[in-house]
């Protein structure tokens, strides 16, 4: 048993950064590493290492909706989907060039963002595009998928370039 009226909290040099005193504004730091599971989407990320873009296709024969961005179940009929390899060639459905971005991607600006459409596929795929200037981009422009050799297991392991002869 301890009953010590002389107990004293240890003094440290761990201070606080202060921006303003009235009102009192201080720096409050926060960071976290998540243990993020790709769960039913995992195969998409693994397949990028084999230079394959895996979309998904509804198993319901009466539906058969094909998704460029995979999903485990079909939004049209609720059935399960199966993995479905996409072509490596597509077209620009829409585009932009981002000159600003969220803090995480600010160092990468400016970058081109495109929505990709694939022949015979019902939905779109969002990706980065490199190898073209802003004024070269247009809707309907043929583009081709390329893959990182050193995977990050991120959807940016696949990116697009203009589909022109090398």
């Amino acid at each position: 048993m301890t009953l010590n009226p002389n107990a004293k909290m240890e003094e440290t040099q761990k201070g606080t950064e202060v921006y303003n005193v009235d009102p009192l504004i201080v720096k409050s730091h926060y960071e976290i590493d998540y243990i993020h599971s790709y769960a039913q989407d995992s195969e998409f990320f693994r397949a990028l290492g084999k230079k394959k873009i895996m979309g998904s296709k509804c198993k319901n024969k009466d539906c058969g909706y094909v998704y460029a961005t995979p999903r485990g179940h079909c939004m049209m009929c609720g059935s399960e989907t199966e993995w479905h390899e996409l072509p490596n060639h597509g077209k620009i459905h829409a585009f932009t060039t981002c000159y600003f971005g969220s803090e995480e991607f600010l160092p990468e600006t400016p970058f081109h963002l495109v929505m990709v459409e694939f022949e015979g596929v019902n939905s779109l795929f969002m990706a980065r595009l490199i190898g073209a200037d802003e004024e070269d981009l247009h809707i309907g422009m043929p583009i081709r998928a390329k893959f990182r050799r050193n995977l990050r297991f991120s959807p940016t392991d696949v990116y697009f370039v203009p589909d022109v002869p090398k």
Partner: protein, 423 residues
């Protein structure tokens, strides 16, 4: 589709309050801002705390302050404990959804008087970290790591709208000129500005084709709407405003999943209007159309342009205001650009849109925004703009029936509510 199987009791708005939206208000935290807006609304209708049966708390992102359960902290600070309350969240449409939840609390008969309070404190992180938090409201497997930027998503939608319909960057810019200009007479607004189309195009490019002046800002702010049953409403106020109907729509989280189907037609449209249009694609907001359709059926509106006197809509981007004219059926799909060119949405136009200045100029403290729209619409329909703004320039003379529209994500949740003057 099925609309409002049981309408419930009639619901009225009896009072409202808003704080002046600003980039940062570090001298007040969210609780004090809500308290100021709440006290304004109580005083304006001679209400006391005892008149309030319960509440709905409206705020979007826990990340902005790293404070969970902010809702109960506001409830507590207002002195509303131990009365019933809940938090409602749905991205940018949080305020609209919370307003509709308040409507449901009264329509169901559970409460006679319900306070809906909304707030957001966005100044505790820098703008680019704020954009990162907002971008976390996109699919973190497939969208956030690629784009990670909402203005980028909206820029692609604008790009496609321009491709489908020939909309121009000058037409987008005109929305910015109109809304910033209206806000010159709104003392609650964050960014009143007299600007030109050239100013908008010459301001820094954020994501082509959207410039800094095509995009709303981050804000600190709070807003409160008080809703009541018919019996209570006329006891409380000589000038309550009826909430005639509500409508809500949703769409896929990912822009990439939007289908290419047929337009859900409004009463004043025909299938032949859209023979070659693949809908919604990424050029239009199916959730907005769905919400409008439900709200119009509830209020018996068959010709929105003729039957609605003014609109406060979610113009987080100039492009989304033009897209929304079409979703709401103020014009046909594809005619949004002409609609602004013809001045139909200007302050003295056919149907003034965002007379308050909208999000672009009033500010967008997310959880407060949809409630701010309700408050400004309430004052318009009460014909009390002069009293609250100390300026009557924005009072729409014939305001009898108004529409408020709140919108989330890339068009994932959208609410439309119809409000009507009773005298």
């Amino acid at each position: 589709m099925i609309y409002m199987k049981h309408k419930g009791k009639d619901v009225y708005m009896v009072s409202g309050g808003v704080t002046k939206f600003a980039k940062a208000t570090p001298d007040m935290d969210f609780r004090l801002r809500v308290k100021k807006a709440f006290d304004y609304s109580l005083n304006d209708a001679n209400l006391t705390l005892h008149d309030i049966d319960g509440s709905v708390a409206s705020y979007f992102a826990d990340h902005f302050q790293r404070q969970l359960m902010s809702g109960i902290m506001a409830q507590d600070y207002l002195g509303l404990t131990p009365k019933p309350s809940k938090r409602v969240e749905g991205g940018g449409a949080t305020g609209g959804l919370a307003f509709q939840t308040g409507f449901e609390e009264v329509a169901s008969g559970r409460m006679d008087v319900c306070a809906v309070y909304g707030f957001e404190t966005m100044s505790h992180v820098n703008t680019w970290k704020g954009n990162e938090f907002i971008a976390l409201a996109s699919d973190t497997n497939f969208d956030y790591p690629v784009g990670g930027f909402y203005t980028g998503y909206y820029a692609m939608m604008a790009n496609r709208h321009m491709h489908e319909f020939g909309t121009t960057v000058e037409q987008l810019a005109k929305v910015s000129v109109k809304n910033h200009g209206n806000a010159l007479h709104n003392p609650y607004s964050q960014s009143p500005m007299k600007i030109t189309v050239e100013d908008v195009r010459n301001s820094p490019m954020v994501a082509t084709p959207l410039t800094r002046l095509d995009v709303c800002t981050m804000s600190d702010g709070a807003a409160v709407a008080i809703l009541a049953s018919e019996e209570k409403a006329f006891e409380i106020s000589d000038h309550p405003v009826k909430v005639a109907s509500i409508g809500t729509g949703t769409d896929t989280m990912r822009l990439s999943d939007r289908p290419f189907g047929k337009v859900p037609l409004l009463a004043n449209e025909k299938e032949s209007d859209y023979r070659n249009l693949k809908y919604p694609g990424i050029h239009s907001f199916r959730a907005g159309r769905t919400a409008a359709k439900e709200a119009y059926e509830g209020a018996g509106i068959t010709d929105p342009l003729e039957e609605i006197d003014l609109v406060e809509l979610h113009d987080a981007y100039t492009s989304s205001e033009i897209q929304t004219y079409e979703d709401l059926g103020l014009c046909k799909y594809g005619e949004g650009g002409n609609f602004i060119d013809e001045g139909k949405s200007s302050l003295h136009g056919k149907v003034p849109v965002n007379p308050s200045g909208g999000l672009l100029a009033s500010g967008h403290p997310v959880g407060a925004t949809g409630i701010m729209q309700a408050v400004f619409m309430f004052w318009q329909l009460q014909h009390s703009v002069k009293k609250h703004f100390h300026d009557e320039a924005l009072q729409i003379k014939n305001a009898k029936r108004g529409l408020i529209h709140s919108h989330a994500g890339t068009g994932t949740y959208v609410t439309v509510s119809i409000m009507e003057a009773v005298k």
